[in-house]
């Protein structure tokens, strides 16, 4: 009979005992955390897209050359221009070529009104290109308010006139079924909001008088 070898079994240390108890809660918390992170990644994509869209909107301003008619585009091909949602903007000033030409034609001798309508048209175009959730809708609404305020300043004290100019510009920008539908679609993101933004005309109307 062979002698049996005594194996010395060490009792688990206190740390090991604690880990045995704690490891499942720790793994569970980690698993939940990872699951939540995975769940939130699409929302973060959306947030980043929203931030980029808002930054783009805020970077859009009416430039002096456009306001004074020194950067007029050629007349676009109507079929081509109306075939897409955004249309053509060959002079890259953010205003669709057909809209810009129409506004210049409607108000050849009213520089302040023309500039205000061009600014509003630039802002309305962003409704077609940058609004895809409530945050971008609110940002666009606040941004678009600058052009509206500019039109009211030009109309003072004949306020009804400002609303007519607004409608005139809206009809030019949302001139096809596709564009009208898009405007209706972005309306689903409409929300209550509070705005304390006091900005209005991108170009001070007084500069036209000088």
């Amino acid at each position: 009979m062979e002698p049996t070898m005594a194996v010395e079994v060490k009792p688990p240390t206190r740390a090991r005992r604690a880990w045995r108890v704690l490891r499942w809660p720790v793994w569970t918390v980690l698993a939940l955390y990872v699951a939540l992170v995975a769940y939130r990644v699409p929302a973060m994509f959306d947030k980043q897209k929203t931030t980029a869209a808002v930054a783009f909107m805020q970077s859009q301003k009416l430039d002096w050359a456009t306001a004074t008619g020194k950067n007029v585009p050629d007349a676009p091909d109507e079929a081509l221009n109306n075939a897409t949602l955004l249309g053509t903007d060959t002079n890259h000033n953010g205003i669709r070529d057909d809209v810009e030409l129409a506004i210049n034609k409607l108000h050849p001798n009213q520089a302040a009104v023309r500039a205000a309508e061009l600014q509003y048209a630039l802002e309305l175009q962003l409704e077609l290109s940058q609004v895809f959730n409530t945050d971008t809708w609110v940002a666009e609404a606040k941004y678009e308010a600058h052009g509206i305020d500019c039109l009211v300043e030009a109309a003072h004290p004949q306020y009804f006139q400002a609303k007519e100019w607004m409608k005139e510009t809206e009809d030019l920008v949302f001139n096809t079924e596709k564009r009208k539908l898009k405007r209706q679609f972005v309306g689903i993101f409409e929300s209550a909001f509070v705005s304390s933004d006091q900005a209005s005309c991108d170009i001070d109307p007084k500069t036209f008088a000088a």
Binding site: A141, I148, E153, Y159, F193, V194, S196
Partner: protein, 296 residues
Amino acid sequence: MLCMKKYMTGVLSVLLATALFTAPATAFARCGAQGYTVGYVNGVLTSRPEAEADKKALVEAYTARVEPNQQNPVTFINIYNPTHLAGVGDLAESVSQMFGAPISDFDFTVMLQDLYRELTTRRVLMLGHSQGAFYANSLYTYLLAHGEPKEAVGVYAVATPASVVAGGGFYLNSQSDVALILITAAAKKAGMQAPLPPNIDIAPTSAKDIASTFPGHSFADAYVAGASDKVISDVQKSITALQPTFASETDDCFDAPPGTVAERVEAALFWVVDPVASVVATVSATVGVGAANVCL
């Protein structure tokens, strides 16, 4: 099984408690003694561009009549009351507000949360037009119950279908306001409280107003265009009566609606998770992986 359930409940509780305690406290430290805020709340069937134009017409009329006060500038803000279901939702909401039991608090809560962020002066006047007057009354009640002193808040109602102006503020209802004439007749027929009686007669100033659905009711085209002296004088009287009691450069003007428990828990959890999720999203976008294909 029971043990597992207890265990999971414990783990979740720890996670939620950690998230809640580490969530940031919102700190907007400003409720200054200088200046005034006039918050314009539009009525039903007013599109967002129209609401902005109305507010701006008020600003233009005000600046044309009142010398700018460097010490106490007046800031005009737009508290936008959105249109629902092409106006049908607004009309239903208006009727429910006339009964004193609004159908939905959603818009009101969003307005308050936004107002909490935008309001920077202790003295604030809520100027409600049409259905906006109900919201102005409700905002007044909420603000007083959540930190604003009575003497710092006022309400001014224009073309109001309400039977009262909160805080005993001024109002302006025109005898020629067709919407008010119809609402008064309907309210009497239905046994509801009628709107406040007319206290001015504003003659139409434009063909556009006469041709509108409710002549004499538009804020800018009827009231401001036809009675701007009266409107601006009422606004001026209303704001100069306000006192900046308990103004503070460090405290908020009022307590914003806290949101439901579920919303707070969700916000707290996302606060813990979002920084990491944001990094993952950025990295994924950089390497050209779409959100839908992200697999952790």
